[in-house]
């Protein structure tokens, strides 16, 4: 699934759409990628002369990848974080890196989803954690 196809499911848009491609394997594991071009807004000032992708942005990349695990449930919904647990940052991500996320659904009840994710660059783990979020109705076009 490419970026245009991803937009049919994720409600995020530029500059906060942070998944370039994804696929779901036969074990329902989401494999997602995002290429850090160096032009992203979050690199401006983080840090001058030493651009590093902020940890919260890495969490957001993982969260969007996790949301794509239940892509069919996303139609007509917005995604909201309900929790971030056991997050560990192991290595930095910099311009030119292509991050790869592996995300799995741990538990689902009602509109709450709990997932685990690992974000790597070139096979080296950069972040891992457990993310949870809620899907709420997207009322933007109904107002």
């Amino acid at each position: 699934m490419n970026r245009d196809e991803i937009k049919q499911y994720l409600p995020h848009r530029e500059p906060m759409l942070l998944v370039d491609e994804m696929n779901l394997d036969e074990n329902h594991v989401c494999h997602a990628k995002y290429h850090v071009t160096g032009e992203e807004f979050f690199l401006q000032g983080h840090f001058p002369g030493e651009p590093v992708v902020p940890g919260v942005i890495l969490c957001e990349i993982m969260a969007q990848s996790c949301a794509l695990l239940m892509k069919d449930d996303l139609i007509g919904k917005l995604t909201f974080y309900t929790g971030i647990d056991k997050v560990r940052f192991k290595n930095t991500v910099r311009p030119g890196d292509t991050v790869e996320v592996e995300a799995t659904l741990t538990y689902h009840r009602a509109n709450i989803y709990i997932c685990s994710a690992v974000l790597s660059v070139g096979g080296k783990m950069c972040v891992k954690g457990e993310l949870s979020f809620a899907l709420l109705p997207d009322t933007r076009n109904k107002q």
């Binding site: 309900t82 929790g83 538990y107 009840r109 009602a110 709450i112 709990i114 949870s132 809620a134």
Partner: protein
């Protein structure tokens, strides 16, 4: 020997960080014991794993109080 209620109470206490003495059947998990929707989902997950059961959405949707939770556990561990 610990009963189903004892084990359930211990898990509620651990998850919601409230003393077991505060956990009585009439207490609302949400209004009295401070659970939010994520806490309740995580508690459901813990109970399913501890007791090796799988709740239906409809059954958990009706759980509001500690007493409701005890009834749910009795139903699933018969």
């Amino acid at each position: 020997m610990a009963t189903i209620q004892d084990k359930t109470k211990a898990l509620v206490s651990s998850k919601l960080k409230v003393a077991e003495s505060e956990i009585t059947e009439d207490k609302s998990l949400f209004n009295d014991l401070g659970a939010d929707s994520l806490d309740f989902v995580e508690l459901s997950m813990l109970l399913e794993r501890e007791f090796n059961v799988k709740f239906t959405e409809a059954d958990t949707a009706n759980v509001k109080t500690v007493g409701d939770l005890y009834q749910l556990m009795e139903k699933y561990t018969k």
